[in-house]
Amino acid sequence: MDLVSLNALVNRYVWGPEMMVAFLVVGLYLTLRTGLIQFTKIGIIFRETLGAIRERALGASGEITPFQATMVALGATMGQGNLIGVTSAILIGGPGAIFWMWVAGVLGMATKFAEATLAVHFRQRYADGSVSGGPMYYLSRGLPKGLRWLGAVYAFLAALAAFGIGNLTQSSAMAGSLEAAFDIPVGLTGFAVALIAAFILGGGIRRIAAFAQTLVPLMLFAFLAAGLYALFFHLDALGGAFAAIFQNAFGFRAAAGGAAGYALAQTLKAGVGRGIFSNEAGLGSAAIAHAQAQVDHPVRQGFWGVIEVFLDTLVVNTVMALLVLTSGAWQLGQSAPHAFVAAWDFPGGASVAAVILALFVFTTLVSWGFYGEEAAGFLFGDGIRWPYRITYIVFAFVGALGGFELLTAFADTLNGLMAIPNLIGLLLLGGLVAQLVRGFFRGEPWQPPR
């Protein structure tokens, strides 16, 4: 078996149904260990996050405000997957896939909550006040001695995967989309992306955060405004779209016998897969951003993890799904990228879709640059940061030119593999997360590990 076939085989497993079950089991386990936190404390979660974004940073240890950290994480999380990925899920699994996407999203809230909480709890503080954190830190500092090497494994996978999921894929999608919509040469897009990314990444986490806290909310607002405007043209189909989501969730529309089973499996796989992979709960990547937040207690940042999944899956993905369903784009027999564009069914919709896609993928590219750099820094120390940044920026340029399918395929597998050490860590550290939650809701101060 050659390397390409081996990669294809591993890729099938890491993005296959077995791993989906693992994601769901860990999400369910953490939901139970945290006392169904995403349901029982939902009021507090909203008050502590979206209800308090006007406030300044807590002056506690950490680099950026909790809101900025979440926007960096959300910038990475919201990408092609929320747009073309959701469209693809409907094409493969039908409208019912959205129901399972919600289910996976709700369980993913507990997973992301645990990741963000652990990231702050185990983060490394330096004498200059800066911090580093994420799965590599909570795995290497929190797990029993015999398993601490998983932290290094995670960092290795993340540092390399960033070039694929965060960079080549995004840069290529952006260049392709802008070329199709506005005839902009891919080389020009690549150059502009590399230049802007170099400026932002060169400023470290503070500049990345300043960029994310402005662009990500704007991007979200632009998407929702354009999405609601597009839905306005199909208001009459809105009820039918919701009905289709629920009616098809259990394969009711399919024929009896084997066909029904197949339809349900397809729907489940498409929906759960999209739910999991669009919000990245379980991959652990967003925890790298959450670790940077200035908070007095890790649980407070965990709340932002819940909100991140809420915005990604329950808000953005739902609006995208409604666009695809109400416009009828899913029934045109087109590929996912074309159906995505067709879903913006109003004058100028194709251009709006291209701009929104460009924004989504650019924020992903920037945030993943930081994730990769943090992971590389964990493995090789601070000296690797600038060489890593420069390589990342070069990849951002050449990615726009296309032709890196093989490299992207390997990076995609590495990205999927990141979940394995992270999910093991979340399972083993679930008790600690529960303990932190209990302490927080008893009003106890946080005691960082020694």
Partner: protein, 267 residues
Amino acid sequence: MLRGNLSDLPFLDLLQTLAAGSGGVLRIEAPGVEGVVGFAGRRVVLAEALGLEGMDALTLLAGLRRGRFTFETTPPPRRNLEVPVQALLTDLTAITDEWKKLGHLPDDWSRTLRQAAGRREVEIPLTELGVFAEAQGKTIAEVLAVPGEVLERARALNRLLKRQALASLPTQGLGPIVLVALPYYGPATGTAYVDHALYQRWVERIGGPFKLKVRSPKGLEATYAVEPREQIPERIMLHDRELRKLRAGRGTRLKVMPEVEDGPGKS
């Protein structure tokens, strides 16, 4: 506009100087005290300080040994007195002489009074007992600012301070300051938490037990026990329910001021 400090130009001399002019308004800002004196021709037509008016206000202002003043030749905004400056100067000379005798009264009238530390017995005459009881936790300026009793109270305070029945503690920097609300959950204990460094600063200045008075932007007030907590600079942690009672929530900017509690402290 004329500016200066009472430590360079005492109040009495200042009045003499200004009496030569045609009129205007003198404003005085001293620790714990703000006052205003209005002139029209060679008459004093306005005197206010700490809620006192007329001769009471002038008596209080005559006791200030330091404080900034400004004089502007604008007409007084209102009138509550009609006294020729020369007659007033005669009265104030005697009053100023009385103030000069009160050497134990600090220059800073914003200092907080409390029972002095230690277990030794101090004899307090019946005439001073009322002032002694009333002074606990108040500033010197607050104790003095009673109509008709300014000088009498100043003498009583001077004696209480001399006998070390009372101690005065600096309150500058204690507040009110603005802290941002952060909720905590669990059992409501009636306790507010502030950052460890701020708490230490208050402890050093106050030197004894204190509570925290919190005022919300909607004007609601409450007082809490206070304890230190790590890693919450510029924050005040209050129980979620207490915050709601103040019609506040996470991120609300609250005005916070320590209140000295009754009981012995260090002088």
